[in-house]
Assembly symmetry: C3
Homo-oligomer: 462 residues x 3
């Protein structure tokens, strides 16, 4: 039975060391500094092209990168600390997954996008793209939060990053779709992938851990740190790899408007849907962010500020409705246990974002974009596509993302079922104690209460 | 009686949806991308003026914007979580107010500042200015924290943003005063507005909720997250919309020195004023920030580093004294219940900041500013004013800000008294339960203790 | 006995006011705006050299500065809140030390590095360097966390900043070593200085406070905020003052890879070293950061991405081993009580970072660096040194840093022993109550439990 144990003493170190060793080896063979990070090449470039050091792309991407980085490690990490007894795992497994994911995706994305002369060239753009990829993995993590061992999570990362890279390559490079903020490549893919994994890993006895699935007062406040950071920096996320100039500027602004409108919709719906006219933290923590997802494809385009606001408002409404009505249904009818409700925050808004992107693309005209068409829609600009056909390709890309997510999620889900990975039993989900040395005195508030109550019961009996 | 209820099921959704619908409609009619965010116009600009994409103002304002954004949503939001049972409301109502406020102020400020050819042009500067305006609203929120419903807060935002826009227009555009960091337009206006609202909404029975007005250990730590972010990013706040070059650079640096000196003054005064030689978290959380407020007008000017430090030190002393002696007096003598002590952090330091700004302006000489005079004091530079008269105009601006705040605050206070808005009763202030679904097991530490104590009492009786 | 009291009513205000007054006086005499922050000089520069405002270094250093600032105030501050009853002191004394330290180091570093025509010229670079210096002080603070009064901490800051400035001057300007991220000047110096102070201040009766030295569930989550911010922004730290262009870009990227690899090593070692195959939060909070320290010297160089990853992996392994085996030994055998384990996070990785820096420097060739040699190794570039001799000088610099730290730490430790400074007794270490007004209802979780347990015991007796 030891192979089936949740004891991580052997299997986790072994896996971490093997994965890191392989990664370092592949980096040694394939990864090189790009022109902007290599001392020799950059100074040659300065010499040859009359550039100055402040032309280095570091200055025009790195602030966005750090905002994205904050979303990945603080945003996702703390958003998931809402569970009363799973805070250590939420923030620290998020940390582990992302730290491995960004290395692995540098390789995978590098093979597909940045392979020149047999080498992968890395710099600020590869750093942003790697963080983006880990975002998709962390979305999937949200669906299975509390129900997987770190070994399972690392294996999921390994395979999902790989599939992400292939899917992204097909969508962006072969289909020629635009998806700067990843409505399709990140949100749709990450959400439906995670839902499929959760479906395969369905736990019929999960009700034995349900009492630990909720939040306590302070865990909800920790989660709000995650929410607010995601909300604030989403404009940087969507704009981080768009073209310089008006593109980045417009993308950030559209996202900002969408999120603001989404927030009002979320408060409205949360109060409306509750039986007692009270607000629900789950909605505020999650649905208010759907405004960033829903403009992930279109924020780069000439969406107009009020267009962004309509999209954002819609996202808030649909996402809140999803938390209220759809998540319970997914669980009871489809046997998909979606811990964080990623279907509501990333799944539906991602799909809608793809559709909105297709519509806005189909409406592109030379009059609206002027010389700027080349940055947003190069294939329309160079005459190889009409705006309408670009719209159609956008929709094809959505189906590709869904296909990769659904099939990939099922396959990886079955891999994660291998017993040796140390999945926690149904009775010990949503708790840190199975994987962590938890301080004795105060092992999560819920448990602390339990201890006190027990003590009191003893006294009562006495 | 249902119209007077604090049940938010109908009134909050209705208000959110109406406000958002009006906002979107006005955006559709009036708001357009500016040259830096519009694909067509920006690329035309590139073509016509031999510019490059990295000349886009996005790269020279957006990092400052994100720092300001963090202050508004994390800084203000978490600073107010110090209350033991009001953490959800503090951070989430802050979120709601700011999300609506930034949209509404884009319109109001746009009508006054950015109206060209019948359209409001938006880009990074309008985003920063909108966030600034919400800062004033959040200061007012601090005065009535724990005592207002979200409906009241949205109405306050609606009217206060409007008055803010008019006041700001008069001060900056008509009077020609300088106030980059908003000592007058943001801090003085926001604080006295809020104090007047609190005065009109005076609650004679508030002592029935006083036991909930304090903090608990962890809520004070959450509040410190807010404090530290405000403190760190205040240099970005004061410099976010100053002229490019030395102006932004100097403004940030002056603010940084002022805050550092203010922190030492705050620790000194806090230890001195306590009966037992112990430090008080309320002072550290708040008074240490007054150094940012007090140089809000003058940080842009040639204040000198040591001048900034003297100002900051003064701010720390006065603000701490205010928390110790003035806040209780305001309550008992003037019937102004100032939950967060905004008079000490924003009111007095704001007024003093305006005065310091006037003095430093009056001392401006061509020798000190050189060609840089045009950026800091264009009206002195072009000969239409002497430095002394600029100083006088600065003082006039202070009185305008005070006048708008006092009169506006009273008027809006009376509007907020309309019973249908769902103001909580005096017995239920400072608690989340009235507006939120609070997790059962651990409804704030104070309440948890209560539960335990009760249990224990039962056992004792048994 | 009053002179020996821990009552801060007189001594802390007096010290703060005297230090700030001296600082302001010295600023008034010596500190002036530099060319980039002075209105007159900058606009003259624009005029004379055909520059534009966006050439101001503010735009190319300030985002890095704010990341560093966040590490200093949020990162260090919250990392140390892991102690269950010492959260107020951790974050607020960190705040006090850093606020004074940055002012004092502006003067000290100014005298050594930036003294022109009898004046210290300040701008964004002096701001970053001042923050760097406070980083070293905060590392030392970590070694004596919970065991020193704020008066002791301010005195330590006063002297340690001064020694830091001299040490840094010798290493960078006289020896000509490179140390952009401060493996030697910040981490090695700060750690061994703090360990020596802790050694001199050895507390034989500290076991009387040991029950307060641990964490509780939520304090570990607060600490993770610090950890994650340090981890995310370490690339900005190491690159903040490197040369513009490829140097900053490469330094940030190398650090990012090193940290990612370090994180996997830390999880691996943490699971491996625990008896029960469970992860330990202390390791994740600390050892995962050693990857930033270990490339502090070499990240600027052509370390290669896989080289950075090997270094980072090594750092994670050694640091975790140190927490498990070395910290207890230091305490029991060498009488060094290292509260935060700074020897594992900063000491050993700092020394190793210096050695790696020396090796990579010795391997520098004209072929690898091209024209970029001048930015990374100016003394090799201008022919005054070979790469090998640069490597030797790097090692000499390490010994200088160690020497300053060991001797300086002992001397300052003895100064801090002066009884009047109000050091807490051995029985009252690691608790806020001695220096803070702590909210009554919930004075830290540990104490709260104590209260409950006591109550229960009474009932049991009844």
């Amino acid at each position: 039975m030891s192979g089936y144990s949740t004891n991580m003493r052997v299997k986790l170190p072994l896996l971490c060391i093997i994965l890191e060793a392989i990664t370092i080896l592949l980096f040694a063979v394939f990864v090189r500094y790009d022109t902007e990070t290599d001392a020799h090449k950059w100074h040659q470039e300065l010499h040859d092209h009359n550039k100055t050091n402040i032309d280095n792309d570091f200055y025009y991407r790195y602030p966005s990168f750090q905002d994205v980085h904050t979303m990945i490690f603080i945003g996702f990490g703390f958003l998931m600390t809402f569970l009363k007894c799973y805070g250590f795992s939420s923030v620290a497994f998020n940390f582990l997954i992302a730290a491995f994911g960004l290395q692995w995706s540098t390789l995978i994305q590098g093979f597909f996008h940045g392979f020149h002369d047999g080498k992968i060239h890395v710099g600020i753009e590869s750093m942003i793209n790697a963080d983006f990829c880990t975002g998709a993995i962390l979305i999937s993590f949200g669906a299975i939060l509390g129900k997987a061992s770190p070994v399972q999570l690392l294996f999921m990362t390994l395979f999902e990053v790989t599939l992400f890279g292939i899917n992204e390559y097909i969508i962006l490079n072969i289909i020629g779709a635009k998806d700067a903020g990843g409505s399709m490549t990140i949100h749709t893919f990450g959400a439906y992938f995670g839902l499929m994994v959760s479906w395969v890993l369905y736990r019929p006895q999960l009700n034995k851990s349900r009492h630990k699935e909720g939040s306590v007062y302070h865990s909800d406040l920790f989660a709000m740190i995650g929410t607010i950071y995601l909300w604030m920096f989403w404009p940087s996320f969507n704009s981080a790899i768009t073209a310089h100039g008006d593109d980045q500027h417009r993308t950030a602004m559209n996202t900002y408007y969408s999120l603001a409108a989404c927030t009002l919709a979320t408060f409205a719906m949360s109060a409306l849907l509750s039986g007692e006219g009270k607000l629900d933290m789950v909605h505020i923590q999650n649905a208010a962010l759907a405004g960033g997802v829903i403009v992930g494809t279109s924020a780069e385009m000439m969406l107009t500020p009020f267009g962004a606001m309509i999209a954002g408002f819609l996202a808030g409404v649909i996402s809140t409705l999803g938390f209220k009505f759809l998540t319970p249904l997914l669980d009871s009818k489809l046997k998909i246990q979606d811990t964080c409700g990623v279907h509501n925050l990333h799944g539906m808004p991602g799909v809608m974002g793809a559709i909105i992107g297709a519509i806005v693309a189909a409406l592109a005209t030379a009059d609206i974009y002027g010389y700027g068409m080349d940055d947003v829609f190069p294939l329309i600009s160079d005459g190889s596509r009409t705006a309408q056909s670009q719209g159609v390709y956008q929709i094809i890309a959505l189906f590709v993302a869904l296909g990769f997510a659904l099939v990939g999620g099922v396959l990886v889900g079955f891999i994660l079922k291998i017993p040796v990975m140390g999945s926690p039993p149904d009775t010990q989900c949503f708790e840190d104690e199975i994987f962590w040395e938890v301080p004795e005195e105060d092992a999560g508030h819920g448990q602390m209460m339990a201890v006190n109550t027990e003590d009191n019961e003893k006294h009562a009996q006495a």
